[in-house]
Symmetry: C2
Subunit: 201 residues, 2 copies
């Protein structure tokens, strides 16, 4: 690393902190910034600054937006009787991109994980319960990840919501469209078999 | 992309411009910036700004540095009779990291490529010739890439340097250490055979 001037070393270290960016990629990205015209590099720096300056967390659903409540919570064409519960913002964006869901969201800001010290209290579950109680919600879709932490979180929320007599659903489990049985593991196959549906022509 | 607020879309687009960063990775990196504490994200933005503000191009060898001439050209423990010619800054850094080369460098800022409209005049070859003429250089190591453009560039520079009666060398060609013949292509094997050396025990 001694070959780099200190400012470049600093930039490489900043890139290395990012998820999925190793030392080689960080160096390549820093060299890209070095080669870029000043205006373009500064546009990038400003984009980072603007995101931190202008983006707020929605006080209703914990989505990110330039306004509070966010553009989804304020949307006049959204079905406010359905809430889709996701672990993090990136999950919300993926569901939203699908374009077929028109309800509201609730971002938990993580999943229950006692090993990592993440308790239900450190998530936004209490706020979700308040919303369901106050806002005439008819259905809560638990769209947490389909792994151990996601399932545990969904189970916990289900237990809390159950007395409120609201419809509680979970994302469908099975084999993803386009997949081959050959490459699926037995746990996935077992779930796909036990959850099998009547075939309609 | 409509699910993202405009400032986040802008940041994703900035990340997408970088080499090797596709849409998915750009979104992941933007979400990482979203999640980061303000101070840390701003440190990253400042690192980009500082690189563009403080880093200069060395007027002697075209390396990047916080001073001009650069820290290598000014280094008192460098052998100024040898110049290693590389295509770009990242190549200089790789040679420098090896730690066994103590001469000076010359960054060409590209390679000759008529198809891309890159002529010898758009590189820093003229400046290299001036350095060799003026600075009592004994050896020029042509460390351009070992592909068609790199070879063509090395050949052109060799032709220009030849009348100056300086030693002109090229990086060794062959099979890389740790490689298997099984996975090398015939062109590489042919070069390794034709360039074979006496084995010393």
């Amino acid at each position: 690393m001694n070959a780099y001037p200190p400012t470049v070393i600093k930039l490489i270290q900043e890139f290395e902190k990012m998820p999925g960016i190793g030392q080689k990629t960080a160096e390549r990205l820093a060299c890209y910034i070095l080669k870029q015209p000043v205006e373009e590099a500064m546009q990038f720096a400003y984009a980072v600054r603007d995101v931190k300056k202008l983006i707020k967390t929605c006080s209703v659903c914990f989505n990110v937006s330039e306004s509070d409540p966010c553009h989804i919570c304020c949307g006049t064409n959204r079905d406010s009787s359905t809430i889709c519960v996701v672990e993090q913002i990136v999950d919300l964006l993926i569901v939203e991109k699908m374009g077929e869901y028109h309800g509201l969201y609730h971002v938990l800001q993580g999943h229950i994980s006692p090993l990592e010290g993440i308790t239900p209290e450190s998530l936004t579950i209490e706020k979700l319960l308040q919303r369901v109680k106050a806002d005439h919600v008819k259905e809560v879709i638990l769209a947490t990840n389909l792994n151990m932490e996601g399932d545990a979180t969904a189970l916990y929320i289900h237990k809390q919501l159950f007395p409120l007599k609201v419809r509680i659903t979970r994302l469908a489990r099975g084999l993803p469209t386009g997949s081959y049985l050959e490459y699926a593991n037995t746990a996935i196959i077992a779930e796909a078999v036990s959850g099998r549906n009547e075939m309609k022509c």
